[in-house]
């Protein structure tokens, strides 16, 4: 057998309850358990993902994440504290310097300066987080790893991002390609290096649905103005917007497939990926429906309890006893708070189980590894202890569910 196929063993029930259990622990520890919670969820998802018979293993610990976070928070508190204060000072100094629209512009710049100053940090954190996850992933007992290079990534991401924005998105594929290549070219499995081949222009076909969406919006707006039919322009805008959302999913999926096919390990092991946009979109739609369903159910429960309290007061006979009314309001607000927490947990759980996990399952199952016997010769690599356990990503709250 020279091929290995990706397999996913995860199930909805166990992961959902793992999520609920760890989220409750996070709640009662005022958020401190979240590092352990994320680690446990990762352990589950990694162990559910397999190449051939062998599952991946996540060896990160909640403890190291917590300590990495504590270090990051101090650095960020110092950096952000000074940054915010200086920006506020500049903001107060420019009040009233300009009149009219210039004043509005300076206001906006001062407000967004804060966010713009954070972008390099977000990029830095994103690279470090990926490096940490790689360093804590094993397969067949061998470690993955990633070289240092977060600042190089920040510089490139800023440059490519700026180019993509200045060209109104025309150079987006270039940014996508080179940023992913930067990371892949620094990635390792054991002593074997990954390398990213291919060319960035090959990502253009993936943008076709985004282009169609643009065309729909522009033609719709044009026709709407020409025929004086705002309804037509609105409809075209709506259709174009939905088309664009799906178009970007199509872009991401086709970029993933292409870059996976052009990727090599040790120069000989090759990959194939056949992820499908239709499947990803279907999963997301069903998941969103389930989230709406959960929200409606929670609303109904709240309504029923409210009605029960109201009826109780109305049928108690005679004048309403203020104590009973107070108790009713207390019950109602307690139910409200509990339901609020429960709904948030449910939504998080449903998102994780019905969207995130199912998309991961689909993507992993779409990957095939060719020339697999070469993997037998790969040797272990040294542990990467230098990573900050993605403390910056945790402090800046990026990275999502997993």
């Amino acid at each position: 057998m020279t091929h290995l196929t990706g397999r996913y063993f995860g199930q909805s029930g166990p992961l959902f309850w793992l999520y609920i259990r760890t989220s409750l622990l996070t709640l009662v520890t005022l958020g401190i358990y979240r590092f352990w919670a994320k680690t446990r969820i990762r352990k589950y998802v990694w162990s559910a993902s397999a190449g051939g018979e062998d599952s991946f293993e996540y060896t990160g610990t909640g403890l190291e994440k917590f300590l990495g976070f504590l270090v990051a928070i101090v650095i960020l508190a110092i950096f952000l504290g000074f940054l915010n204060l200086i920006l506020a000072f500049i903001g107060l100094n420019v009040i009233g310097v300009f009149e009219g629209s210039a004043a509005d512009v300076t206001q906006i710049i001062v407000i967004y300066a804060n966010f713009i100053a954070l972008i390099p940090l977000f990029l830095f954190a994103a690279y470090r987080a990926r490096r940490y996850k790689m360093a804590r992933t094993r397969w067949r007992g061998l470690r993955f790893g990633m070289d240092q290079g977060a600042w190089g990534y920040v510089a490139r991401a800023l440059g490519h991002g700026l180019l993509a924005i200045l060209t109104l998105g025309l150079l987006l594929p270039r940014a996508t390609f080179y940023l992913e290549k930067y990371m892949v070219d620094r990635s390792w499995y054991g002593d074997a290096k990954f390398s990213q081949g291919g060319k960035w222009t090959a990502l253009y076909p993936g943008l076709k649905h985004v282009a169609i969406a643009f065309a729909i919006i522009i033609v719709g707006a044009g026709l709407g103005v020409a025929l004086n039919a705002p309804g037509l322009a609105g409809l075209a805008g709506f259709v174009g917007y939905i088309w664009m959302l799906i178009g970007f999913v199509y872009y991401r999926v086709s970029a993933f497939n292409y870059m996976m096919r052009e990727r090599r390990l040790d120069g000989v092991v090759t990959f194939d990926a056949q992820a499908e946009t239709g499947r990803v979109v279907t999963i997301a739609l069903i998941g969103m429906l389930a989230v709406f369903g959960a929200m409606i159910a929670a609303g109904l429960v709240f309504l029923l309890v409210g009605m029960a309290v109201g009826f109780g007061a109305a049928f108690s006979g005679g004048p309403v006893d203020p104590d009973a009314l107070g108790a009713g309001i207390f019950v109602l607000s307690a139910v409200g708070v509990l339901l609020y927490a429960a709904v948030l947990l449910m939504i998080g759980g449903i998102n994780l189980v019905m969207i995130t996990q199912k998309v991961i399952a689909h993507v992993i199952a779409s990957v095939t590894v060719a020339n697999a016997p070469h993997l037998d010769q790969i040797q272990q690599r040294a542990a990467d202890t230098g990573a900050d356990a993605e403390g910056f990503a945790d402090a800046l709250d990026i990275g999502g569910a997993i």
Binding site: G31, R34, E57, A77, A88, L92, G96, Y340, L375, Q379
Partner: protein, 385 residues
Amino acid sequence: MRSISAARSDVPTGRFYDGEGGLRLDVEVEVDRAAGTLILRHADLPDGAQYWPLGAMRALKDQARADQMVLTLADMEAVDAGLITTARLSITGRDAIRTIRGAAPNIDKRDVKAGTFRKIGIYAASAVGAVALMVFVILPGLADQLAPLIPIEREVRWGKAVVSQMGRFLGEGSSEELTCEGAEGLAALTRMEERLTGPEGLGYNIDITVFDIDMVNAFAAPGGQIVLTRGLISAAPGADAVAGVLAHEIAHVDNRDVTRNALRIAGSAGLLSMALGDFAGGAIVVGVTQMVIDNSYTREAEFAADAYALDMLGAADVSGEGFAAFFDVLSKREGRLGVKLPEYLSTHPDTPGRAQRARDYAAEQGATRPVLTEADWAALQKVCG
């Protein structure tokens, strides 16, 4: 894949990776209870076998697959140096999993390194200490240094903008509609201000406005803009009480408290939500904690403004008793409302304490004379018509 299989059907097997290379060995496993080991047999292993101490064996946790159990070895000094913690043994089959689980006593044990809790304590205490130092010492200090660097004209402009928005903020319509126009009353207020600030005045042009609203309140906006409310003037037991409040607000102006506070709060904004993270209900905790920090800034400023106001009253030969009497009125009103926030949640220091400090100051004062004539006080009370 070169899977070297020597498995007989009746013997449990496992997929073994030695932790140094990617080659898989399908080993036969056997529990040797007498020796306390799990024997892994394969022709390609050194000496044909490896012996895993049952007590050092651990199963990976939070695993998704029910069809296999992945075993690893704990990092223990007692374990043979030839065995390494990166080695992995995957056992498949229900019976084999059950047998090995039964034989390995510590299979679900969590290994916590000695000194871990100490380490957590040191890290957490240092982080909290460093962030607290930043929020309570460094940022306020820097804000205090920067505030005087802002030109007064900018502060005045900003203050005017704040005052003109205040009416909308209070939900009472535009500030222009709210402003009281009684000329004699305003003249009396100006005389009161001049008496308090003395002949040389302050660096600021004090600009006092009276809002026609019931609320008992007074604000100092940046750049010398002071707002008193009609409710405050009616509730005040006398002109000396209004003078105390006015002196307090002038103290805020001269200390540039609003500007300093804006800078301090801007500096610490968002640090907490970052530290506490985003979890269900977390927003409430963040909100309350942010309030405690922000209010500790203002409480400190209020305390200083009270002391400054008393000195101002003293220098103008106005009795501090009026200021104390005003706090008595405030205490009574707070008592009637029936809710009293604990001091750390409140923007102002505890009211009876403030009354006491004013009264103590008054007791030490020499001869005093009323801040306004009877006629001026009557005019001030009618400033809103």
